[in-house]
Amino acid sequence: MTTTSGEAALFGILATLMVIAALGLLFAKRAVHAAMCVVFVMICLAILYVANEAPFLGIVQVVVYTGAVMMLFLFVLMLVGIDAADSLTETIKGQRWIGIVFGAGLLVVLVSVLASTDLPAAVGLEDANANTNPTGLAKILFGDYVIGMEVIGVLLVTAALAGLVLTHRQRLGARTTQRSMAAERVAALPEGRLLTPLPAPGVYAQNNAMDTPALGPDGQPLEHSVPRVLRIRGQQRTAAEVLGSEETLRSHLGLPAVGTALDDPQIPAIDEPSDHTSTEERD
């Protein structure tokens, strides 16, 4: 039995892409890229299974391999850290060259064996797949291989248990509860820690951003209402700056200046010192 020209074209395209993606696994620096290459190879394999008259295995390949196994790999990559780079030091001397020689030798041996073998002409699976492919598979699986099937079930349960046992971690300290956290906060009060949550950043008439501090009831800007990271980076703005930029915008648009807000003695007078520092930092 020879294949159709359509299948030959499909095989030609997919085989090229698969070999390139498999080489990507071999050469990719980052583990995530390697994982994506393997996912691609597995999806292409599923298509080839369907072309090889194994539609059930094609679907199982997508569900089990790309859906479950490779996603598990990606989860573990997230746990272990994506930046885990490959070390290039050779622990065993010349191991890299031995590996390359072994891989190339394996390829040569396998391909030459295949080339020299005179395989019989393909029979095809039309007869075996007469009652649809899953039915035919089920007849063999639950007939000839029923004990193997049971053993595989036991294996899966054992593997699930092993996964649980191996990743189980015993608790070292006491469990932190809401009550203990509250007690900790109260105990830290003398050291100057706040009992209440931090105030939210300022919300003004035309500005609502994380980098603008809120004003307290006394008109003073509350420094700790701006996130700590922005304060360390010097990216926080003052209320006066927000008003100033609003004024510039109004003058650009040709609108009359509000004026009164800036003339308000409270806000500029309070914000002036911090305003200076922030403009200096920006320059």
């Binding site: 095989f11 573990v76 272990v80 290039l88 396998l110 598979l137």
Partner: protein, 99 residues
């Protein structure tokens, strides 16, 4: 096109997987190389099932898939445990016995 081409593709994928296992030092990538080898054998199984007109090859490929899934669960759990204690996923760092 002869059906043998599928077998040659399986051989190429198997060799690339084996080379990955030998060359890479990241345990997770080594594991993916093993998965690639298992997939290559599956392709060979499916192709042989077609050559002989017998579905047993596909049943065996199915068994390989189940075993691979179980193996991945245990293997990745071991990698995670090693990473927790040694802070590294490199196969070169697991050398406590040699010291």
């Amino acid at each position: 096109m002869a059906v043998t081409n599928y077998l040659i593709l399986a051989a190429i994928l198997f060799s690339i997987g084996a080379t990955t296992v030998l060359l890479r030092r990241n345990a997770i990538i080594v594991f993916m190389g093993i998965e690639l080898m298992l997939n290559a054998t599956n392709l060979a199984f499916v192709t042989f099932a077609r050559i002989h007109g017998d579905l047993t090859g596909q049943v065996l490929a199915f068994f390989v898939m189940v075993v691979a899934a179980a193996e991945v669960v245990v293997g990745l759990a071991i990698i995670v445990t090693i990473f927790r204690t040694r802070r590294s996923a490199s196969v070169d760092d697991v050398n406590l016995l040699s010291r």
